[in-house]
Amino acid sequence: MRYIAFVKMAEDVGEPPAALVEAMGKEMGEAFAAGWMVDAGGLYPPAQSTEIRVTGGSITVTDGPYAEVKEVIGGYSILEMQSQQEAVAAARRVAELHREHWPEWEGSVEVRRISGPDEGPPSQG
């Protein structure tokens, strides 16, 4: 089963300390070597993003940054696991590394299952 993990944090959180960058690099390297991480990437800040929104039958296009956004997605990784628990265990390590190497950081790691390739599209409930 395939999962995506998002790391979410306040927009003005600043640059991560070198120790975290190094620890995350090591963790990700091991995850790729173990074969269960299949893709990962960091995202540029919302200031450089563009939103295309459909409301009331019309489309509006808005460039970032956006006001009143509490948390933004800073990065993602795609994991292939036999269970959600395994994906959660891996995501928890990412949270631990942030806590250890960047004590003032606050944010979250969200784990979501990706539909397919082993199943049909999810039913929206």
Partner: protein, 411 residues
């Protein structure tokens, strides 16, 4: 919290067990003891994590506990040895191994462990079971479900395998021996993948995904042995084959031929990873073997956005190479298909005429392909006869119907 911690323990186990068992095997030089120590650590986690919470670095926690157990084990053994020695000769220096010094090079240890679990002294089905258990971190029950055999059967295979490996060399093989052993490792991984790939649809949801585990092991091996083209070839082949999982069967479980598959269902992430692995294999600039060639053929299909865009000339050339490096009747039949598509049905039939029919006597493969080539060559009545012959050989009902329909259509 209790059940959270318990499920966290089994999840952490899956992520960490290969490194844990590999490191412990290095320390103790005994794969059976190593797994016992790792299991002891797992039990300790099941006792302590629900109360104390999940440790910051679960893998390091498990390793620390297992190492303490290892020290206890060797102390007990040492005490026993001393008592025995005191009865007889003089005391030697301590026999407790330097466990800290042994934890270096964990990557090499994992590679050693894979060589060990795929050891030629073991029967093939035991190699697969032991590899899934010690490298993949699956439980005996999960392996049994994966292979659709009884738990006890897998349990016996694993315990016999561990016994046969007592005293086996944990050092990495070198030279030609390493090449041979690496070929064994690759065939075990391929077998695990195919066990999942050829599984019938509509299975028990508890059945662990052996395809996924096979691709994962191939990725691991590619990281551990990056200088060997075939290892990247195996990874590329499995990534690309796995990319078609959703397209290759209908909802009722009947198979869909490659050319008829809905290519929008192909998993582009896996295709990208497969093509990248193939590129790594080719960039090494060394002679390639059957996995790289098969991956290159799979890549030709993966790159074609529609069946009509398939580069059959290139595929035919690759089958010529494959027939050299891995000769066999099935390869020849596929080579005939490729030449038929690339250079016309006559050329395909010419290749097919050379195939040793006895090797495929009970299979419908040969007459099916002959029928297809004859139909393309406009020889309708011969084609219909070939399809009817194929229909009489297949044991699959829906396939028989399909072949008879084709025979009727053409005549």
């Amino acid at each position: 919290m209790g059940s959270d911690a318990a499920s966290a323990v089994s999840a952490v186990w899956r992520l960490e067990s290969a490194r844990l068992v590999a490191g412990l095997t290095r320390m103790t030089n005994d794969v059976g003891l190593a797994e016992d120590l790792a299991q002891d650590a797992l039990l300790a986690a099941l006792e302590q994590w629900p109360a104390d919470g999940i440790p910051k670095s679960p893998g390091a926690w498990l390793m620390a506990v297992a190492k303490r157990r290892a020290v206890d084990h060797f102390r007990r053994a040492e005490t026993l040895r001393r008592r025995t020695a005191e009865l007889g000769h003089e005391l030697e220096e301590t026999h407790v191994p330097d466990l800290d010094a042994a934890v270096d090079h964990i990557e090499d240890d994992v590679l050693r462990l894979i060589f060990l679990t795929c050891h030629p002294a073991l029967p093939p089905e035991s190699r697969a079971a032991l590899t899934l258990r010690l490298v993949g971190g699956l439980t005996t029950q999960e392996i049994a479900r994966g292979f659709l055999v009884k738990d006890a059967t897998v349990g016996q295979r694993i315990s016999r395998a561990k016994k046969s490996l007592a005293g086996a060399d944990f050092e990495l093989p070198v030279g030609q021996e390493r090449e041979r052993r690496l070929a064994d490792v690759m065939s075990v991984i391929y077998l695990i993948f195919n066990e999942g790939y050829s599984a019938t649809a509509g299975d028990d949801w508890m059945r662990p995904d052996l395809c996924l585990e096979g691709v994962r092991l191939a990725r691991m091996l590619a990281h551990l042995e990056p200088g060997e083209p075939e290892v990247h070839g195996l990874q590329a082949l499995l990534e690309i084959q796995a990319s078609r999982v959703r397209a290759r069967t209908r909802e009722d479980g009947t198979p869909v031929l490659l050319e008829d598959q809905d290519r929008r269902l192909w998993d582009q992430l896996l295709i990208r990873r497969g093509l990248a692995a193939l590129e790594r294999a080719e960039r090494l600039g060394k002679p390639v073997g059957p996995y790289v060639v098969q991956a290159a053929i799979a890549a030709c299909h993966a790159r074609a956005r529609t069946a009509g865009e398939t580069d059959w000339a290139r595929i035919a050339g690759l089958y010529d190479v494959l027939a050299e490096v891995a000769p066999g009747a099935v390869v020849e039949v596929n080579r005939a298909v490729a030449h038929g598509r690339a250079h016309g049905a006559q050329r395909g039939l010419a290749v097919l005429d050379e195939v040793d029919e006895r090797a495929l006597a009970q299979s419908h493969l040969l007459p099916t392909v002959r029928g297809d080539l004859l139909a393309r060559a406009g020889r309708a009545s011969e084609a219909a006869a070939a399809f009817r012959e194929a229909a009489s050989l297949t044991r699959n009902e829906s396939e028989r119907k399909l072949l008879l329909d084709r025979a009727d259509e053409i005549s």
